[in-house]
Amino acid sequence: MLEVNGLVKRFGGFTAVNNVSFKVDQGEILGLIGPNGSGKSTIFNMLSGTLAPTSGSILFDGSEIAGLPPHRIINSGIGRTFQIPRPFRRLTIFENVALAGFYGQGRHSRARAEEAAERSLAMVGLPTDRHASVDGLGAAGLKKLELAKALATAPKLLLADESLGGLDEAEMGQAADMLRNIRDELGITIIWVEHIMGVLMRVVDRVMVLDHGEKISEGLPSAVAGDPRVIEVYLGTDAETTQAAAAAARRRAGVQ
């Protein structure tokens, strides 16, 4: 459904994303992980049109979307959330989501937008009451609102950006389950960017790891978690020597 080829983004002399290619299949949850500054959010911003790629192609459902303005990408069926929730505080919770339902679905009708808003708010577990103010929401509530806004645009592909930052253990588990529900019940394909590896690994079908703007590993969560390059990136070189030592020990044990 999504095919990214040779994606590059440079900011002046700095290369934030360097020649990254990947594919996402229909109905899949792809995890995108990597340390701070590894280019995850930059890739998201290019997929959603907030940034135009320096070069490379992004095929969504067979058509090229690289460099299109964000509203056209959203209308073609990609929804996104932001790493830091960006609610519209001048609007009520319901209006926030109805706005996305209206403009994100090609400005059909108000009734259809409000219907989408009710459905999305119910899906994420926020009140569908029309007068509730955004100011009453805490960190978890704002993340849910962010997700409801993205869902209201009726996406085929959802880009969820670090949806769990700032949540406690229980809230994290709920949020992860929610993403899985969204895929299972609505059939929405998801790319999930996350710092926190543990929760992510439990939910995703496949993981892609970035470091310094390059793809260093991709595969099943269990395989990626054991990849020495990934461990190096996440835990540093000491871990690598430890890992190497462990591997050597295993080899020796195998030989015997």
């Binding site: 964000p70 932001f82 403009y103």
Partner: protein, 339 residues
């Protein structure tokens, strides 16, 4: 969703306004009423975009185009204002798009947008003054008196006709304000004024939405200018265009209240009464004093009463009026978690 009571109040108020000139015929007071209605419409036009944080100081330019294009077409080509007014509105609209598109496309917002529009006001004023062979320059310009049909030339001698025309146009402005207020476009524009990227991520075409409201606002302002010209039958660059007129719009809209439909009207009542009081009380000694008072009041209002007089009064009367919109509560806005 207007309540039945509010609808009734509007109906009664309007009926009283329509009946007024037939009962009370003092020409001076009617004249003041007509001026208030025309300027109210102009201020309402400004607030159409001003309320969404699109602060324009270029509206004097749009008003000047409305007035001068209509008058010039009548005097030089003999085009009736019925044709001249739409042409002048189209000209102002085109200018709004020419200035607005690059601003919105390249994200010129906030103070920078104000500066660009400030230049627009200045340029229109300069053009009118510089082409004095056609426009009379700073001495002003008078549309030729029509010999024939008054309706065709849109020149009426009696105040009652003008009062009713101005009332109709003013009401049209208020209706447009409410129309925008209830549309999805309001959601989009509120969202844009807060966070353009997030609005775009909700599927909003930011540039197009901003252009649409700017166009509407400019068209309305040009109509106000043309109407002012037809009523006064004398225009000068300083009374219908330029930075002073733009500032007057900002002042009146803010003082009256930007976020309520009758706010700009309230602002017009205050500014025109102030100008008249100073003119009658102090005569020529007080020329320009009103601008001084505006300046001081504007600063005081922005600091102490950002919702304007009417906005604050309505809040006082109905503390639970709708859900508070957050730009009315910017001061107490809690910082976003995580930033």
């Amino acid at each position: 969703m207007m309540g039945r009571g509010r609808l009734a109040a509007w109906g009664i108020g309007l009926a009283a306004l329509v009946a007024l000139p037939f009962v009370y015929r003092d020409p001076y007071h009617l004249h003041i009423m007509v001026l208030i209605l025309i300027w109210s419409f102009a201020y309402t036009s400004w607030s159409m975009m001003g309320r969404f944080g699109l602060v324009s100081l270029g509206h004097g330019g749009f008003m000047g185009i409305g007035a001068y294009v209509t008058a010039l077409l009548w005097n030089h080509l003999g085009w009736s204002p019925w044709i001249g007014i739409p042409v002048s509105m189209a000209a102002a609209g085109a200018l709004a798009l020419i200035v607005g598109y690059p601003c919105f496309r390249f994200r010129i917002t906030g103070h920078y947008f104000v500066l660009v529009t400030l230049a627009l006001s200045g340029i229109v004023l300069q053009v009118i003054t510089a082409t004095r062979d056609y426009t009379g320059g700073s001495l002003g310009y008078t549309p030729n008196r029509a010999a024939g049909n008054k309706l065709w030339s849109l020149q009426f001698d009696d105040k009652i006709t003008w009062y009713l025309i101005a009332l109709g146009v003013w009401l049209f402005g208020i209706v447009l304000w409410h129309w925008v207020d209830r549309s999805m476009a309001r959601y989009a524009l509120e969202a844009i004024s807060e966070d353009e990227d997030a609005a775009a991520a909700a599927g909003v075409d930011v540039t197009a939405e901003k252009l649409k409201i700017t166009l509407l606002s400019a068209l309305m302002t040009a109509l106000a200018g043309a109407l002012y010209c037809q009523y006064q039958m004398f225009i000068t660059p300083d009374t219908v265009s330029g930075i002073a007129v733009s500032l007057q719009m900002v002042f009146a809209a803010i003082v009256g209240g930007l976020f309520v439909s009758l706010g700009p009207t309230f602002g017009a009542i205050i500014t025109i009464m102030l100008a008249e009081t100073l003119r009658i009380g102090f005569g020529t000694k007080a020329v320009g004093w009103d601008n001084l008072v505006y300046g001081v009041l504007l600063v005081l209002f922005i600091i102490f009463l950002p919702k304007g007089i009417l906005g604050s009064l309505l809040d006082r009367l109905k503390p639970q009026r709708k859900v508070p919109r957050a730009h009315e509560q910017e001061a107490v806005q809690i910082a976003r978690p995580g930033t």
